[in-house]
Amino acid sequence: MTNAPTPSLAAAKQEPGGALGFYGVWLLAAAALIVLPLIFSSGGSLTSFSLIGIAIIFALSYNILLGQTGLLSFGHAVQYGLGGFLAVHAMNAVANHNWPIPLPVIPLIGGIGGMAFALLVGWVMTKRAGTVFAMISLGIGELVASSSLILRSVFGGESGITTDRTSLMPMFGWTFGPQIQVYYLIAFWVLVSAIAMYALTRTPLGRICNAVRDNPERVEFIGYDPHVVRYLAYMFAGFFAGIAGGLTAINFEIANSAYLGAMQSGFVLFSTFIGGTAYFFGPILGAILVTYLQLGLTSVTSVWQLYFGVIFIGIVMFAPGGIAGILMKHRPLIRAGTLGTVIPSYLVAAIPTLAFALGIILTIETVARFSGGDPINLLGIPFVATAPTTWAAAAVLVVGGFLVARITWRRVAEAWDRAATVARDRGYLA
């Protein structure tokens, strides 16, 4: 058998976009992170950006499990929260002993904390995937969250443990008191973590994680122990979750038991799933959207969690690939130049869909505010929750919107089929 390299198509095709495109994306991301607070410089947007940055790291770390390795965890906040607690204790210790450790190093300690915990419990947890793993992760989550309230010396009970981020030695004259300096610290870690997690997907381990996700049984017959693969993935996920937790501790100068809890675990699952688990950038989109929505919605409605539930169910039912999945579905159409033929049908469908959505919102708010609360204000139009006209309007919007939307979405599907057929004929769709 000759071993001469075969100049096959496959070999030539393996660098998508080439090195330039690859570094270009990250340089662009770095530039965006630097100029963002210069464009939106209000205190509120700085706080939002900081939280979004943390959420991005957290969601990407979660996707190492869910999207890359096929592990559904209900307790990812454990590593995040423990990272946060370790970071707070580290900051206090550094300040007390005047150790020459600057603040930007602290998230790394959080990461080590998250990884150490994963190292400890992970071997048992990752023995099996699927439901077994999901259930154990839920159990560990509850266990740690409840012990955090009992072990007061470590976790500070209900009130948590506070710290002062400015008490560490300054770096380059930065004390990290002002939010803008904290933002840049977070932005730095977002970039480093995202690059590292992307790089991880391009390593032999990263590829085998995908294989374990697709078919753990077959993996055993190409030399790999899927248990080890899951364990390693779990540790990496714990590491980056710990970094996110450490950053949160720096941002709020406190760590408390809420960091470890089911709410936080649900939040990251939610962001990752809405963003889309099949593509690396999916969780980034999800983290941005969900954090932004959370910050925005809490100020306009008291039942914002209900909206999250509705969005989540909508995504699960109609777009299980998440936002990234929806976007990437259009790539072959863009390449084949047939996207233009579906856009008009989208625009038509948007109108009744929007009406339907407004009807749902009106219904939810009517129910929520029926027995008191601020008057409803929908797109500048005031509604009274107790007025039958409001109920009628809601009913018309929901029912009418739904019926018309159904017809228009059928049109979208037809336009899609035509566009996809053309794309297939032109060789852009398998």
Binding site: N210, V219, F221, I222
Partner: protein, 249 residues
Amino acid sequence: MTAAIQVNAVEKSFGNVQIIRDLNLSVAKGERHAIIGPNGAGKSTTFNLISGYIKPTSGEIRLNGEVTSGLRPFEINRRGLSRSFQVTNVFARMTVWENVRCAVLWATGHRYAFWKNVDNLPEVKQRTAQILDDIHLSHRSDVPAGLLTYAEQRELEIGITIAGGANVIMLDEPTAGMSHAETERAVALIRRLTEGRTLVIVEHDMSVVFGLADRISVLVYGHIIASGTPEEIRGNPKVKEAYLGEEVD
């Protein structure tokens, strides 16, 4: 010389149903050995036992002289045995290229490495391209494996099995469900790719079996009733009675 595969008095029961009874099999190094037998005889179960997918109830299995019964599939694979599956068993969401490349990684020593860029490993790349070329799937390298045609998936199944360079290859009905032309191509492929290696193949197509095999074992009700060269098997009255009937004449 030690045999590539040595199965000694292996028994296997599922619950209280005994599927494999007193199984004895010896496959010499470099031999092409076919296992034939009626449906449900236990051929795939024999593969599962040898490859570590299930453990024997009693008895012993050796690979190149070393006892492997009781080892996990990946441990046996690392000792140089690779098998395919009767029902296609690939990584559906990954591309054809990724499927084959994953099967190359352990054998090329990259193991669980998380510090190397998988796209920058020349020997991995070269070997993957070579395998894809061998199984005639180079032009489909970017397609998710789940979207391949049936025949293409069967070829990928073979590709994944041989990619690690194992010296003992076991193929479970590699041509099942293929057309005549596809079968011929697949057999030529198998013949070429297993050159110089040990091959154990389960096959129902008798022209394939008698054309390819150096030796044949006949499995009936979980027991090997005859083992020998194609001529010996053809002339064996017990085999004729139990299984082959008119087919070989």
